[in-house]
């Protein structure tokens, strides 16, 4: 019954005689750089995405820390001295004491304005401007440039062809184009930050976004960046859908596919079907800013609520673009590390499609405080529908643990952390779907806490967990599991300290996007900020673990965890063309009770004895 085919991996972990691993340099450094920049190899593109996403994650993280640091005190924590517009020198008052930006709201503002003759200030800098820019930066980068492409574009690109037993994605050159489009969009966004940043919030709500900083191009640049990133998302999604349809290995039916593929397939469908709507929305927003066409501008007869509908028609499904791949990763990690067939394969697979379908019907729950009663009621009912497939998935994962053989490796720890955090994230969403309570919690810190539990506790945690799971496959090196586990615990503790406190802030009345707040909230903000620095520490530990692994990690075997999906049949790291010959699928992706994993070597990883009934 075993399909063990060791020739597919060459020498375990080593380079095969012809071709060699995809990481083998082709020549000098210049040749190598050109080779990577022009590659159509899905594995290299996946790694390039990973590097780009991690860099943007760093930028967005810095912005998050800036925001958290500012919120330590109820007034400005980081005081910036105002500049005297006449002299360009720092501003002082009559006694020679410095005048802070936060103070220039009454008298000093007048002083400053009096000195700027013939020059209009489009927005009054009352000292919150930079804070507003910091949280916008954090939101826009984390949503558009980190979470949306994180798992789909990096792990997805690397793994989909390998898991399907294909040599590449359907359209390799389009794939490279997607990466360049992604980088172009990111460059636009970074340019927008460099020339002054954007203070609209990542949602770009009109009419604020169409009027703020009217003389400057930064908002247009940022919106254009998001528009371009949308193309990258569409092209990647399209590529994956066709790949799944057309490039499955012989013998792999739809229900023989790993669940990660199912999740990515659902994700890609959403990307293809939702992103065009944000495309036209952002395009009209740009027209609105540049030509004042008025479709979203109430002063010209337009409707800002129409913008919200358009925006959330994309941005709600995109929440599932963020979380579905995470479901996929968890559906891989849990069976492999507990050597147990996933419970209810079809339920999990159909739940992915179900979530994707329902995700298109619930956008209105972002607008309970602005839409009519009938719409709100319908959207509330539909919102509760989405809870069902999600809950089913969680039950299935926990049922998979039952009577397994659970190894507490770093990826498994991350899967357990995910179950903990995502359950909180999901359950705290219930009062938000409930109309009566949402009118209180909408746009408060409760929402902030909720979506961080889902987006970060769900997607980012899983992305890091997935990196630990496939790191040996991607780079052919093991990492220090002890320190990786320390990092995982630090992240777990830091995350909860940071975000659980924010639930209380929200119910007590702290609105989101506030730089100042009433004194009673301070204690919660201080705890939250301490937590954010613990999070930083956790991610730094991971960074060092990965760097150490690249430099000095021991060689990874082809199948370090004993997985059954096809990527573990390839070498670690895989050869240039993935497999020496096309793999033929003879067992399901999770048939641990009947199959010995490929390349199984007791020295690498001791397996439990096979159950008696297996034959």
């Amino acid at each position: 019954m075993s399909t063990l085919d060791s020739s597919n991996a060459g020498h375990l972990g080593g380079h095969h005689a012809h071709g060699g691993s995809y990481l083998t340099p082709k020549g000098g450094w210049l040749t190598t750089v050109i080779d990577w920049a022009t590659t159509v190899d899905h594995k290299k593109i996946g790694v390039m995405y990973m590097v780009a996403v991690l860099f943007m994650f760093f930028l967005g993280g810095v912005a998050a820390l800036v925001v958290r640091t500012e919120l330590v005190t109820p007034v400005r924590t980081v005081e910036v001295q105002a500049t005297d517009p006449a002299t360009g020198q720092p501003m002082v008052d009559a006694e020679g004491k410095p005048v802070m930006k936060s103070e220039i709201r009454g008298q000093w503002l007048g002083e400053m304005k009096a000195k700027i003759t013939g020059q209009e200030l489009t927005s009054i800098d009352g000292g919150n401007n930079w804070y507003n820019r910091a949280f916008t930066l954090h939101g826009a980068i984390m949503v558009f440039m980190v979470i949306i492409p994180s798992i789909p574009a990096s792990l997805g690109n690397f793994l989909i062809p390998l898991m399907l037993g294909a040599k590449d994605v359907a359209f390799p050159r389009l794939n490279l184009l997607s990466w360049y489009v992604y980088v172009t969009g990111s460059i636009f966004a970074v340019c927008s930050i460099v020339i002054g940043g954007v203070d609209t919030g990542w949602t770009f709500y009109t009419p604020y976004s169409t009027t703020t900083d009217a003389e400057y191009a930064n908002v247009v640049l940022m919106v254009l960046g998001a528009f371009i990133l949308g193309f990258s998302s569409i092209l990647t999604g399209l590529n994956f859908v066709v790949t799944v349809h057309k490039l499955r290995a012989p013998g792999m039916g739809w229900f023989d596919m790993p669940l990660f593929i199912w999740a990515m397939y659902s994700t890609s469908l959403i990307q293809v079907l939702a992103t065009p709507v944000i495309g036209i929305t952002l395009l009209l927003l740009i027209f609105e800013r540049m030509f004042r066409i008025g479709i979203f501008d109430p002063a010209l007869g337009g409707d800002p609520v129409l913008y919200q509908h358009f925006f959330w028609f994309y941005s709600h499904p995109v929440v599932y673009v963020m979380i579905l791949p995470a479901f996929g990763v968890i559906s891989e990690i849990i069976p492999v590390h507990s050597h147990k067939k996933i419970f209810g394969y079809r339920a999990v697979a159909f739940a992915s499609l179900g979530v994707a379908l329902v995700s298109f019907l619930v956008w209105g729950h972002h607008m309970f405080a602005s839409s009519g009663e009938l719409a709100a009621t319908v959207f509330s009912a539909l919102t509760f529908l989405v809870a069902i497939p999600t809950a089913v998935k969680v039950f299935n994962w926990i049922a998979t643990l039952y009577k397994g053989s659970i190894a507490l490796t770093t990826p498994m720890w991350y899967a357990l952390i995910f179950l903990f955090l995502f359950s909180i994230g999901g359950l705290t969403g219930l009062p938000l779907g409930t109309l009566a309570t949402d009118l209180h919690l909408h746009d408060s810190y409760y929402v902030v806490a909720h979506f961080h539990y889902v987006m970060m506790g769900g997607t980012i945690i899983t992305f890091v967990g997935g990196l630990h799971h496939w790191w040996p496959k991607m780079f052919g090196r093991m990492y220090n599991q002890f320190w990786a586990n320390i990092g995982a615990f630090t992240v777990f503790i830091g995350f909860n300290v940071t975000f659980f406190t924010q639930f209380f802030l929200g119910t007590q009345g702290m609105p989101r996007r506030y730089a100042s707040y009433i004194d009673d909230y301070q204690i919660y903000h201080v705890i939250s900020t301490v937590g954010s620095y613990i999070l930083l520490l956790g991610f730094l530990i991971h960074l060092f673990v990965f760097l150490h692994s690249l430099v000095a990690g021991r060689k990874a075997p082809a199948n370090p965890w004993g997985g059954l999906t096809l990527e573990w049949e390839a070498a670690s790291p895989p050869d240039e063309h993935n497999f020496h010959h096309e793999p033929i699928v003879k067992h399901g992706p999770y048939d641990f009770d009947t199959t010995v994993p490929p390349h199984w070597d007791p020295k690498d990883y001791p397996l439990p004895a096979r159950p008696k009934h297996a034959h």
């Binding site: 709201r105 304005k113 209009e120 009663e373 009577k403 009566a436 301070q522």
Partner: protein
């Protein structure tokens, strides 16, 4: 902060919804029961919360138990177990549906309560603009009272200090249904009174409504004091109790979004009636009307009346003098003032940005406009001067008028 921490610890634990003994400060909510709808909404929240805690503890307990019980031990095989069980899967799909149905229905009932105002509600108009609120009472009056709260008040005492942003206080009758008709003058805002557990977005060019029935102050509520610290009394000589509730803007609206606050001060009906009569413009001289408009429409936030500098030109000695504008020097007469209020961008005073909000005739009607003009006239030394004589008068401006501003600036140079 330590005391706050110990206070938090003392209220740690499940907050009960037992009537009467509700804490005013708990982990989850501040100020229980400010309105009946709020209490209902909190009940729904706490019910969902305990349902969620039940599910969460159940799932996590299973997870932890499985991880410990079935941890990998070398040489020990994983026991066989099926990977599919239809009845179990149907059960865990159907059972959550009951809970979800309860949540939807409870939420819907609370929502209708929050959205549909009773027919006898007093209707008031609320206008939002960057970054201030204006409430107009049924008799056309607006509240001119403002205060400074929070850390800003502590570090920068008094509204004369730079940086302290005075927020408006709206007097609302207790035990009375009040319905606000809300509209914005610029971008979107959202009116949120956390104690009432409801918020509603405010749009330009479109009305939205917000209603509440605030519990009136009782004997345990604080007593209202005037600026000298004496207790305020009604005409009958009774002390006035009040409850304050914060208003926050909950829809991001720019630089000072986080300072766009207000206070709803719930007072007994008699005191409310006396207060809005005091601010009523009926039976007042134009100058008094102008002063009320100046305070209640937010002019006070930028324009000073004592000659000191603000975010906008001072009104002291404005009338009758020639002001430098981007359309050349202009005589500040009645027409200039009128134009500057209804169409502020027509002429921009040199040295000031064009960020004066546009007012409509609905907000400042003819009577109020004339009141404002009369008020501005009354604080100008040129008030009696005929427009034709103004240029000559401007040249011979008396140095005494400018003195306060001069003395303020002198030490800086």
């Amino acid at each position: 902060m330590i005391e706050k921490l110990s206070q938090l610890v003392s209220t740690l634990g499940p907050t009960t919804l037992a009537a009467e003994s509700q804490p005013t400060y708990s982990w989850w909510f501040r100020n229980w029961g400010a309105t009946e709808n709020a209490t209902h909404s909190d009940t729904i929240f706490m019910n969902i919360w305990w349902i969620s805690v039940g599910w969460f503890v159940f799932l996590m307990a299973l997870m932890v138990y499985f991880v410990i019980r079935y941890r990998r031990r070398p040489g020990v095989p994983a026991p066989y177990s099926p990977s599919h069980n239809t009845s179990l899967e149907v059960a865990w799909t159907v059972i959550p549906c009951f809970f979800l149905t309860y949540m939807f229905l409870a939420g819907f009932s609370g929502y209708i309560e929050k959205m549909v105002a009773p027919g006898d509600a007093i209707e008031m108009n609320l206008t939002a603009k960057k970054w201030d609120w204006t409430l107009t009472y049924p008799n056309g009056a607006s509240s001119p009272e403002r205060t400074v709260v929070g850390a800003a008040a502590k570090t920068q005492a008094g509204d004369a200090t730079p940086g302290a942003r005075p927020i408006p206080i709206f007097y609302i009758p207790g035990d009375t249904s009040v319905k606000l008709k809300m509209v914005s003058q610029d971008v979107m805002h959202s009116f949120w009174v956390p104690d009432f557990r409801i918020k509603m977005d405010i749009f330009p060019n479109r009305y939205t409504t917000y209603w509440f029935h605030a519990k009136g102050p009782d004997q345990s509520s604080p007593v209202l004091k005037d600026s000298t610290g004496k207790d305020v009394t009604t005409a009958q000589g009774e002390k006035v109790h009040y409850n304050d509730h914060f208003i926050f803007c909950a829809e991001y609206c720019g630089d000072q979004h986080s300072e766009m606050w207000g206070i709803i001060r719930v007072v007994p009906r008699v005191y409310y009636a006396a207060k809005i009569e005091e601010w009523n413009i009926e039976g007042k001289t134009p100058e008094e009307i102008g002063k009320l408009v100046y305070q209640s429409q937010g002019c006070v936030a930028c324009h000073t009346v004592d000659g000191s500098k603000g975010a906008a030109p001072t009104w002291k000695d404005l009338f009758g003098n020639t002001v430098p504008t981007n359309a050349g020097p202009t005589l500040a007469d009645e027409n200039y003032i009128r134009e500057s209020i209804y169409t502020p961008n027509a002429k921009i005073h040199e040295g000031y940005p064009s960020n004066m909000p546009v007012f409509t005739t609905a907000q400042i009607d003819e009577r109020r406009m004339q009141g404002l003009i009369a008020y501005i006239k009354s604080i100008s030394s040129k008030a009696g001067t005929a427009p034709a004589a103004a240029p000559a008068a401007a040249a011979g401006q008396s140095p005494a008028d400018n003195k306060p501003a001069d003395t303020k600036e002198a030490p800086k140079k």
